[in-house]
Amino acid sequence: MSVTEMFSHIQGFLSADQDIREEIRKVVQGLEQTAREILTLLQSVHQPSGFKEIPSKCAKARDLFCTVKTQIGDLKTKFPVEQYYRFHEHWRFVLQRLTFLAAFVVYLESENLVTREEVAQILGIEVVREKGFHLDIEDYLAGVLIMASELSRLAVNSVTAGDYNRPLRISNFINELDSGFRLLNLKNDPLRKRYDGLKYDVKKIEEVVYDLSIRGLAKESESSGDK
């Protein structure tokens, strides 16, 4: 094979690769759009009036996740499934956002930490790599960390809205999350950087809980002395 032939062979490969990336980018744009819609919807829980409407907001968000499902289904058809990590960077960000949104919805509904299986189910994807398009563990953890900072905000706003019990529950939840993350041996990577922010969320919620308990506003005082 001559040098020229060799290079045109490689060039053929490279342009095929670029075509795939182009397709993926288009679908991911749609996904980002939907993710923003869900976020806007859920942001209204921070408003005083929004606290009563949490269940209905969650139901609406769940509806939007159906759109996400079809969009991800579309994304799956754009590339060979065993090359997930070759194009991972394209949807990594949006998948983390979606994980966060799913986790947030599940928290608002049941005040539990969403499991990886639940997220995968909400998004219509798999948990294990072997079965197809899956949720990478680091993306899941990153999504959970985004939710932690959202919850610290929610704690502040729920006090403003006159809901004094919620911060205590959030505090318990976040503390649990914190001790969970402490079990991990994180490398010096983006996930670790994000984890480093968790302590500020913990601190902020603790301050809120302190403010409430010093004024006698916290009724369930036993849960605040957890940690």
Partner: protein, 282 residues
């Protein structure tokens, strides 16, 4: 493998002890994170092992390249080539270990860990191929040599998977972009070879090399910026190398007609020194 498991369990014991102090070992969140911990640790361990193998591959390939540079001033080239071939065989064994680690994994997930080593290997193997055949080795030819037959017994993973019938075939695929980057590095070696062969009074090699380099350069210009980002960076260096080789050919041509052949070597010895110092700055 066994040793690693031992480490994992001792760490788990440590965590269990810590948990009893905080008194939250029954929490589902903590239980879930324990699973995550294991998964992440396994992944990181694998990554580190791959990085280590890759580093070994790099070192050994570099040594092979140095060895191959001796071809220009050693009378018995065949011996040097054989030795290089032997060294590369060792490198291939190491790549076999990479393939072993990647069995059942997504190759792109760990690509960053071993790409430097593979590029260096491509560089070495294509350099050897050029010296032998005066042509560019193709991606298929490289991949064809990275096929491993694993007999069971000495291999812990194969025996863990159950009784393997006979030998297993394991392949490693060099990705096109790794190949491309390796070839780009090759041009630097060819430039060096050109200069040193001029130093030895070899008149033909520089012209052959300049032609070959021009072909590669044209190939890279054809690919342009459709390739990965690193390619465009290497294209710049490639152009410099090509320039040096072309300059050398030019000088050979101009002066070759006026200086008797036996004196050419002296002219170029001073010239090489100049070029080498030039390269050191760049």
């Amino acid at each position: 493998m066994k040793k690693r498991e031992g480490e994992g369990s001792s760490r788990k014991n440590g965590d269990a002890a810590r948990e009893q102090n905080t008194g939250s070992c029954s929490s589902p969140v903590v239980a879930a994170f324990k699973v995550f911990q294991q998964e992440l640790d396994t992944k990181h361990d694998k990554y580190e092992r791959l990085v280590k193998i890759s580093r070994d591959i790099t070192i050994e390939s570099k040594r092979t390249i140095f060895l191959l540079h001796r071809v220009t001033n050693v009378p018995n080239t065949e011996e040097v080539l054989k030795e290089a071939e032997l060294k590369l065989e060792g490198v291939r064994q190491k790549i076999g270990q990479v393939a072993e680690e990647l069995r059942g994994e997504d190759i792109h997930q760990f690509h960053r860990a071993f790409t430097p080593g593979i590029q260096e290997y491509v560089e070495a193997v294509s350099f050897l191929h050029y010296i032998r055949h005066r042509s560019l080795i193709s991606l298929e030819e490289i991949n064809a040599r990275l096929v491993y037959m694993r007999a069971e017994g000495g291999d812990p993973k194969a025996s863990a998977e159950g009784p393997a019938p006979g030998a297993q075939v394991l392949t490693f695929h060099v990705t096109p972009s790794d190949y491309l980057l390796g070839v780009a590095d090759l041009t630097g070696e060819l430039m060096r070879m050109c200069i040193s062969s001029v130093g030895n009074g070899d008149i033909d090699t520089p012209f052959q090399l300049s032609q070959f380099l021009r072909q590669i350069h044209d190939g890279f210009s054809y690919i342009g910026n459709t390739g990965p980002y690193e390619v465009s960076k290497k294209l710049h260096t490639l152009r410099q190398s090509l320039g040096k080789v072309e300059d050398a050919c030019y000088a050979l041509h101009v002066r070759g007609s006026e200086i008797p052949k036996h004196m050419l070597a002296d002219v170029f010895c001073s010239r090489t020194a100049l070029l080498d110092s030039d390269e050191g700055v760049a």
